[in-house]
Amino acid sequence: MTLVLAWNNVRTDPMGFAASFAAVVLAVMLIGGSGLVVTGAATRDELNGVMGLLVLSSAVSGFVSVFVVAGMLSLHVLRQRRTWALLRSVGMTPRQVSRLITAEALVVAVLAVVAGCVLAVPYAVLMAAFMRATGLAPGGVPVEVATGPFIVALVVGLAVTLLAARVAARKAVGVGPLEVLRENAAQRRLLPWPRAVIGVLALAAGVVLLWLVPQVKPADAAPTALGATMVLCVGASALGPVALRGMGRLLGAVVARLDPGAGMLARSSLVAQPRRAMSAASPVMLTVALACTFLFAVATTDAAAGVIRTGPSAWVAPTLVGSAVLYTVLSVLNATAMTMAERADEIRLLRTVGTKPRQLARMVCWETLIVTCAGTLLGTGIAAASLTMLGKAATGELRFAYSLPQYAGLVLVCAVSGLAGGLAATRRARRGALLPD
């Protein structure tokens, strides 16, 4: 029976499953692949100098993988809360529903981990080729199939997927079935206390790490700054709904003034559902915070050491962090699409009462842009804090090196992928048949 139900869920929500599956595949590929590159590089003495950079970029990949998979799985489970409520209202116990959710997650995780491990080898070969081309490893990096990275990727992939699904399942079955079916837009609690505690602790830990950056050995300054960024990202994403509601109000008021109808709709949905909005803003924040910290940390330490990189070698840092950024950008698209797809009924209702298709498209765009903007602001703030402290460590001054085109490019890519995801996910509701049958 569980199998029938599980299969039925997969069939009714193919997009959600595809998104979760892709997130886990890519995560395992990133972790396994960068692990292979690091173990391969460790066998060559001449690569000792770049080992630090390699390990740092692998840490970034691992972190974003865990972060994105956890976010995606929780979004996926909570998105189906109507299904869970329906199953409970016809007599399934919370435990049974919880087990069903775990079983589905297990199937997704196992299949995705296998696929990810297979893809890890070509990914590692590709990365090695890039490193050779940019001159980071002129002699090349030998990529050998070692068991260590695969085991790490496998364990992380399975554990994070299952854990995230279980936590989300507990949340999903903690709400009474009728409450869910009764279309509860007013979210119950903006910040449940476990989330608040995690957020505050992470922020505090981040601040301590920031303070440590100029205190530790110069060689450890950059890793510590990167660690601070990661920990601050965790804190910001936990406390994010509060920040997002504030920003939603502020930016929404501006938009509602520019475009009263569509703007008002965009603002009110952000203010009423800041947690939903935060799940789309989180990957933007992650992209901006981590990419900026990594790229501009390299730039800052280079500038302090008087190193000027030109030609292919200017692409060393972007190459190393590129795949992690690509991954988070994909997850921006995914998360925006999934949060917007939830709105299909609302969009149809708006059409029946006379909202023009173009107004609906504008509503989706405004909302996505506000979310992107909020994510960018949070990410920029976090990266700026880490980089400022790194600058202090490197030069004694509260300054850091940065590249405006790279920054603008990052933000633009996030905004474009958010818009693409939002518009694609709502296309059927905006343009398709108005009546459900």
Partner: protein
């Protein structure tokens, strides 16, 4: 399979018409075609002298926004908007400003004074229907279509909603067309249309509940 065949009917301004019939008789299709939610394969729908079957997607949207009110059985309100915002939604979409005193008066009239800031989830089913009625009335539409507006409500709340529709006809001269399967609801209308297999089979003027019940074949 045609849901409607050769139905020709006019709804006079300021009248309250109920449409009845067994399920599958085409009563909802009639309402959807008449309100521009769906297109008839052939024939014409005129609202205030304009044939809306020739309208494009945008014109239909403007029609529904400015000249036609629609109320469904449930899920009429945007969940993230408050009662007040739901009422002024259509004027905002048209880039017009709603007169706050009129919005307040309408909400007062439908019995929702003091609930302006509530979201749909914080309102009962009957209250949500009343917000939907206030929204429809704010734009002074040519015609207000209601598809089973009391279908999801208990008897007493349903009566209150019907009384509001009746009042809209009597006090504002609003044209109302209501699809219902409830003889008591239909008895509040000026006339009742009976549809079977996509055809109009009978029209009763100012019928009593018993007359409607008899016409439906004694099924209650």
């Amino acid at each position: 399979m045609a849901a409607l065949r050769q139905v020709s009917i006019g709804f006079p301004r300021g009248s309250f018409t109920a449409v009845m019939g067994p399920s599958g008789s085409g009563k909802s299709t009639l309402l959807q075609c008449a309100s521009g939610l769906d297109r008839a394969d052939s024939g014409a729908v005129h609202i205030a002298g304009q044939d809306i079957t020739r309208f494009g997607e945008n014109e239909l949207a403007v029609l529904r926004r400015d000249r036609v009110g629609v109320i469904f059985q449930a899920f009429n309100l945007v969940p993230s908007l408050t009662a007040w915002q739901n009422v002024i939604l259509l004027t905002s979409l048209a880039r017009r400003r709603a007169d706050p005193s009129r919005v307040r008066e309408l909400l007062h009239r439908v019995g929702l004074a003091g609930r302006e800031g509530h979201r749909p989830a914080q309102l009962s089913g009957g209250q949500q229907q009343r917000v939907a009625i206030a929204r429809a009335l704010l734009g002074r539409p040519e015609v207000l279509f209601a598809d089973e507006p009391t279908g999801a409500l208990d008897r007493r709340t349903g009566h209150e909603v019907l009384a509001l529709l009746r009042e809209a006809v009597d006090a504002f001269g609003q044209t109302v067309v209501m699809v219902t399967h409830d003889p008591e609801a239909a008895a509040r209308a000026d006339s009742v249309l009976f549809l079977t297999d996509g055809r109009i089979v009978d029209v009763l003027d100012r019928p009593s509940v018993d007359q409607i019940g008899m016409r439906l074949g004694g099924r209650r």
